[in-house]
């Protein structure tokens, strides 16, 4: 019972923070709103029983991604036109399209939603079981993602090089 309430609460918080993201003016505040969304989502995951994902949500998303984001915002504190005029010319068409999108999604999802199997989650998402399953069944994906990370490292180094050359 309390779990349902908490679930609804966290979901609502996520939504609210997301809406705030679109409305706030200062990028720093937007970042904070996004962090709030992410934390709420972590809570949702935890409440759903998928603890391992919840933990990694906080660790990676909030801990790495958002920190980096905040760092960049602090570096680039530029008060230009995007500060005073938040929205692009496509505000109204964008809102219309988004509403249409939601309507279609709602229509489609309402028709064909898979039945929850009702099976107990049990220890499926416990760390030990999860990691065993992950590295047994999906080891290829794991390796490919590590290749992606290597590529990202190389790209970061390249960016550094470009920056260094530019600075002369």
């Amino acid at each position: 019972m309390i779990e349902t309430v908490l679930l609804w609460l966290f979901a609502a918080t996520a939504l609210l923070a997301a809406v705030l993201m679109l409305v706030l003016r200062h990028p720093m505040r937007v970042a904070l709103a996004l962090t709030a969304t992410m934390l709420s989502l972590a809570g949702v995951y935890a409440l759903l029983g998928v603890h391992v994902i919840a933990v990694f949500q906080v660790l990676i998303y909030v801990g790495a991604v958002m920190v980096f984001m905040v760092y960049a915002i602090m570096l680039l504190d530029v008060r230009d036109r995007s500060f005073t005029r938040r929205f692009s010319r496509l505000l109204l068409p964008g809102i219309a399209a988004a509403l249409l999108f939601l309507a279609i999604l709602a229509h489609g999802l309402w028709r064909a939603l898979p039945e929850p199997s009702g099976a107990a989650v049990g220890t499926l998402f416990a760390l030990r079981h999860f990691s065993a399953e992950f590295l047994n069944e999906y080891w290829l994906h794991f390796e490919l993602v590590s290749v992606l990370l290597v590529a990202a490292v190389v790209a970061a180094l390249a960016v550094l090089e470009v920056g260094r050359r530019h600075r002369g």
Binding site: L90, F101, I104
Partner: protein
């Protein structure tokens, strides 16, 4: 010789090919030898065939050279047919043709395109022989078109001069208008009879029951073709302009042979015309009108060749009068005598022009009788012949025509006779006028021309003498009797028979009256003619302007056609419609590309929006289709 007729036809073709392809390289002697030798050879073969025809008692010689096409049940062959009528025509074509070829050696001696001239002349001869020897209307038509082509090539022989080139075009186009009628006639005949062989067509019309086609309609259509080729009203306008070609060409094509093709066609198709009284009446009427009309114009012409051109039109009109009243053999008789004296006149005119170094205006001639005596003598003989002074050739044939115009029971009438007689008077008048102004009186030449005057070489004067002799004695050949079995003379009403001798006297009287009038007006110092002209200025102007027929054609036909071509077809059709649609397509592409390229404005917001729209669209589409 197994195919003598084919040989006659092919000899000039060989001449055309040899001279055309190799003439320039092999020199003038070769060109003259081939160009004159082959027609003379053709003439000799013709004489042989003619003797063979006499020996066979007039039975026609048929020579099937080549089967061109077999369509369904009918076959189209290239076949030649030689009977009495063909014999007369081929003898004239090859005989007079050869004489004119020899004359051309002297006349065209200094011309740069000597080989081209002779090759075209031989080409003309080839097509003309196809025309008169052809058995079916199809072969005749090939020859018909071919002589039109050769005429165009020869009229526009000195094509660097745009006027002369234009004259050639005019001749060809006017002929083509007539040919449209000819083709329609051929189509009708083929649909009704299933064959185009002329002997079979005549046989079908002479048998009973008559074929299921209106003989008058076919007759009129064929006559339209004939009037195009033989320069009858309203398609006569090309002949005076055709004088732009070299004079021997005018003699051969526009006096002796090509223009007589129309007369030959009608005479050959006599089977049809005997059963087509309306068509025959029209032919007689147009012939008489043309004869009178052209004679009136000839009275005031000042170019020596133009006088002769209008005279030719007028004499052709006479021939058509004879055809119209059913006297087909008489028309051929006149064709035959006309070939001699008209060729002699034209070649004589050529000799005069040659002697004067190019002068053609008779107002600038005079006093030449003693200086170029041979030309003068032959010209006089030919003039007397055309005026109808007995016992020269023209008298016999013209008198026969006048007689049948009056007395023939199939169309003869006093009115027709009156018009023809008046024309005969005018003919005598203007021909003697020409003679007087050219050869008699004080010299009106410019000093340089006078210095240049000399008699023509023997190759030219020899031919003139030969033709003058033929003009003199040619009338004694009883041609109507020779053709009598083939082309019977029309019936004469018994009541009119006693008019024959009086009318003969009248026609002789007319000839001498014309001579007298010309001598009176132009004899002394041409002053009386000047005074006459000043008394009737409007008439003189209308006649000099050739009744303004060319101007009328230009105004009624030429200008509207030009307007339609320019406004409707060029500006509207071609430029607006075709070019416009192409340009429109291109402009459409350009404008749509311009419009569509505004999507790529570099703005990420727009791209993201378009992605969203795309997602919506694909979701909607996939969920609509299940």
């Amino acid at each position: 010789m197994s195919h003598p007729l084919a040989v006659i036809v092919l000899l000039p073709l060989a001449g055309f090919l040899l001279n055309g392809l190799a003439g320039n390289r092999l020199g003038a002697r070769f060109v003259s030898a081939i160009g004159c030798g082959l027609p003379i050879l053709a003439f000799l073969v013709t004489v042989k065939c003619f003797l063979g025809l006499q020996a066979a008692g007039g039975a026609p010689l048929i020579d099937i050279a080549y089967t061109w096409a077999v369509v369904g049940g009918s076959s189209f062959e290239v076949a030649f047919y030689f009977d009495a009528l063909s014999a007369v025509m081929v003898l004239i074509v090859t005989g007079v043709g050869s004489l004119i070829h020899v004359y051309s050696i002297g006349y065209m001696k200094d011309d740069a395109s000597y080989a081209r001239y002779f090759s075209y002349l031989n080409l003309f001869l080839f097509f003309m022989l196809l025309l008169v020897l052809g058995r079916s209307l199809l072969v005749l038509f090939v020859g018909w078109e071919g002589v039109g082509l050769a005429s165009y090539l020869l009229i526009g022989f000195w094509f660097e001069d745009p006027d002369k080139a234009r004259a050639g075009k005019k001749a060809f186009i006017t002929n083509r208008i007539g040919d449209a009628g000819f083709l329609l006639g051929m189509f009708l005949l083929y649909t009704a009879l299933g064959t185009l062989d002329m002997d079979r067509i005549n046989a079908a019309f002479m048998a009973t029951p008559l074929p299921a086609v209106s003989a008058s309609l076919v007759g009129i259509l064929l006559f339209i073709g004939a009037s195009g080729k033989s320069a009858q009203i309203p398609l006569h306008v090309w002949l005076p302009d055709a004088m732009a070609g070299p004079t021997p060409v005018s003699a051969l094509i526009h006096a002796a042979t090509m223009v007589t093709a129309g007369v030959y066609l009608v005479a050959r198709m006599s089977g049809i015309y005997l059963h087509a009284p309306e068509a025959s009446a029209i032919i007689a009427a147009i012939g008489a009108l043309t004869a009178f009309f052209a004679a009136t114009i000839a009275v005031v012409q000042t170019d020596i060749k133009k006088v002769l051109a209008y005279s030719t039109i007028s004499q052709l009109g006479f021939m058509f009068v004879a055809l119209g009243v059913g006297a087909y053999s008489v028309a051929i008789f006149h064709l035959y005598t006309h070939a001699f004296f008209k060729a002699c006149l034209f070649l004589g005119a050529g000799s005069v022009i040659h002697a004067l170094g190019g002068e053609q205006d008779i107002r600038k001639m005079g006093g030449l009788a003693r200086r170029i005596p041979v030309t003068f003598a032959t010209f006089t003989v030919a003039t007397a012949a055309i005026a109808g002074i007995p016992p020269l050739a023209g008298f016999f044939s013209k008198d026969e025509i006048l007689w049948f115009a009056f007395a023939s029971s199939s169309g003869g009438s006093p009115l027709l006779f009156a018009v023809a007689a008046t024309t005969a008077l005018l003919t005598a008048f203007y021909m003697f006028r020409l003679l007087w102004l050219t050869f008699f009186g004080r010299s009106r030449m410019t000093p340089e021309t006078e210095h240049h005057v000399h008699e023509s070489p023997a190759s030219m004067t020899g031919i003139l003498i030969a033709l003058a002799i033929l003009s003199a004695i040619g009338g004694f050949l009883p041609l109507p009797h020779f053709l009598g079995s083939l082309l019977p003379l029309p019936e004469i009403a018994p009541a009119l028979e006693h008019f024959e001798t009086p009318l003969m006297v009248v026609s002789i009287g007319l000839a001498f009256a014309g001579l007298a009038a010309a001598a009176y007006l132009f004899g002394g110092d041409a002053d009386r003619a000047e005074r006459l002209r000043r008394r009737f200025p409007t008439l003189h102007r209308v006649l000099s302007g050739k009744y303004y027929v060319d101007e009328a054609y230009d105004w009624l036909i030429g200008r509207p056609l030009y307007w339609i071509s320019d406004r409707v077809f060029l500006r509207l059709g071609d430029q607006k419609l075709f070019d416009g649609s192409l340009h429109g397509l291109a402009a459409l592409g350009r404008r749509s590309a311009g419009g569509l390229s505004r999507v790529q404005n570099g703005n990420l917001h727009l791209y993201a929006l378009l992605v969203l729209v795309g997602i919506i669209a694909s979701l909607a589409w996939s969920w609509r289709h299940g």
